[in-house]
């Protein structure tokens, strides 16, 4: 339970497209991490590489000091619950939910069958239903069942809430937090629906340009960012000494997105200071000026 997953200087390309470029990451045990990145940022590739489901071009991934690749001891402790699809290598994914559950019971060393049954009931899933006949949300529910019931010390979810309605998304995060409170195992959740998940993430990881551009405790990170708005001259004065990440104008007012704000920040200027939420922080850092 107290093993770290470490990725050191990892590179991964698909033909000429470099997806991961000298990436370093350490996942400490007993935390819930949120992995955030834009479409095509390489989140799934990174998670695949961390769990030996995808090959590295160079670099190393270790778990408890041992390489993850083809290592039984490491793989026994890791569950990467991937997004399911209605199509597989053989055409339509005609496997039933029960097939996945049975396979999971064979491969996941810490598998909790009773918990899986309970989750199936909670999500109203029929185990005899084929994957290709499920809705996108129901497929997500299956991946949630597999991930949670795996009871793996390191459990990774790739887009677990995609296709889920807001009620089910809330239920997922409640289940995740309940499980975390009970077992203290490590979770990594990649998602695009940031704001709803922000409260569950102890730390967030921003992936951009093939590298980790930020890894920090969620609250600590958010507290460093703010919008300063007002007349241009006043805003400039207030932002002195802060890192200005973005500038925009709304009529006569200028808005700066800044980083480096200290708790209780009150500038000596006629400006409004608005705190950011995690989604805004993400957009500011990874939006490349496209949006503020």
């Amino acid at each position: 339970m107290d093993k770290c997953l470490c990725a050191q200087n990892i590179y991964k390309s698909y033909k000429d497209n470099c997806v991961l470029s000298g990436l370093n990451l350490t996942l400490e045990p007993g935390k819930i991490y949120g992995l955030l990145g834009r479409n095509g940022a390489g989140k799934t590739t990174l998670l695949g590489v961390l769990t030996a489901q995808n090959r590295l071009d160079s670099g190393s991934v270790t778990y408890g000091g041992e390489p993850v690749w083809e290592n039984r001891r490491a793989l026994d402790d890791i569950c990467f619950s991937r997004e399911l699809s209605g199509a597989n290598l053989s055409g339509q994914n005609t496997f039933k939910i029960s097939f996945y559950l049975k396979a999971a019971s064979m491969f996941y060393k810490h598998w909790d069958g009773e918990y899986a049954e309970k989750l199936l009931e909670e999500f109203h899933l029929d185990p005899d239903k084929q994957i290709c006949k499920l809705s996108k949300g129901q497929m997500s529910m299956v991946t949630i069942v597999l991930g949670l019931a795996s009871r793996a010390p390191l459990t990774i979810f790739d887009e677990p809430v995609s296709g889920l309605d807001v009620v089910m998304r809330e239920r997922f995060y409640r289940l995740l937090l309940d499980d975390y409170a009970e077992t203290g195992r490590t979770f990594v959740v990649s998602t695009h629906i940031i704001e709803e998940a922000a409260g569950a993430f102890e730390e967030v990881i921003f992936l951009d340009g093939g590298r980790i551009i930020e890894k920090a405790p969620t609250e600590e990170l958010i507290s460093q960012f703010a919008y300063i708005s007002g007349l241009e001259r006043e805003v400039q004065k207030a932002a002195a000494g802060l890192q200005v990440l973005n500038r925009s104008s709304i009529g006569a007012r200028t808005v700066y997105a800044v980083r480096g704000v200290k708790p209780g920040f009150r500038p000596d200027a006629d400006v409004d200071v608005t705190p950011m939420n995690l989604q805004k922080v993400f957009v500011t850092m990874c939006g490349h000026g496209e949006e503020m």
């Binding site: 569950c79 991937r82 064979m106």
Partner: protein, 210 residues
Amino acid sequence: MKALCKYMCFTYLKYYVGSLFALGAAAALLNLLFPAGFFQSYFEGFSIYSLVMALIATTLLTGSWFNVALSMGARRRDYFIAMQLSIIVGVAASMVLIYAMQFISEHAFSKYGYDFMFNPGMAPHTVIAVFAAQLVGCLCTVAGMWKKWLSVAVCVVYMMLAVTVLLVQMTALEGIFWFSLPWILSGVELLFAAGAEFIVLRYMNRAVVR
């Protein structure tokens, strides 16, 4: 490894051996119910059907079943070894059933003169054919990921070769063909199998979950 052996029983062996037994039972039952010979070919050609089924059943071994196992943390080399073991079990099950069908043919249908496509004296050829068929089935999926037509081509070429082997071995002891011909053809099948094994192993070692 234990988990993978269980997984193979739950997936490949269940489907392959199960469908073989179902086919055998259906062929025997149909011939008992309609002894006039209407379903004679189902019975006589059982060894060819088992080849076809071996080819079909194994396509998932390097396809979806492999993908699911890998996504749940199975090791590539363990999967490859478990796959080899299950292929051996599959060959054994095929042979047991072919012998059983031949026995039934001789005893239940001898008066109709069924010409069962299996020559016990040349059983090694059938073993090689079924063994190679399973590996070629695995190869077809791998080839299909690269080029679809290649998958079909491999399948067709192998089936033509294997059926020729089975037909030749039936009559080999009667001296119609040059006696070494079945062995030469089986040698070609083994080369096919070795090539398939090499390509499948290479694919598995580099496989990525999709």
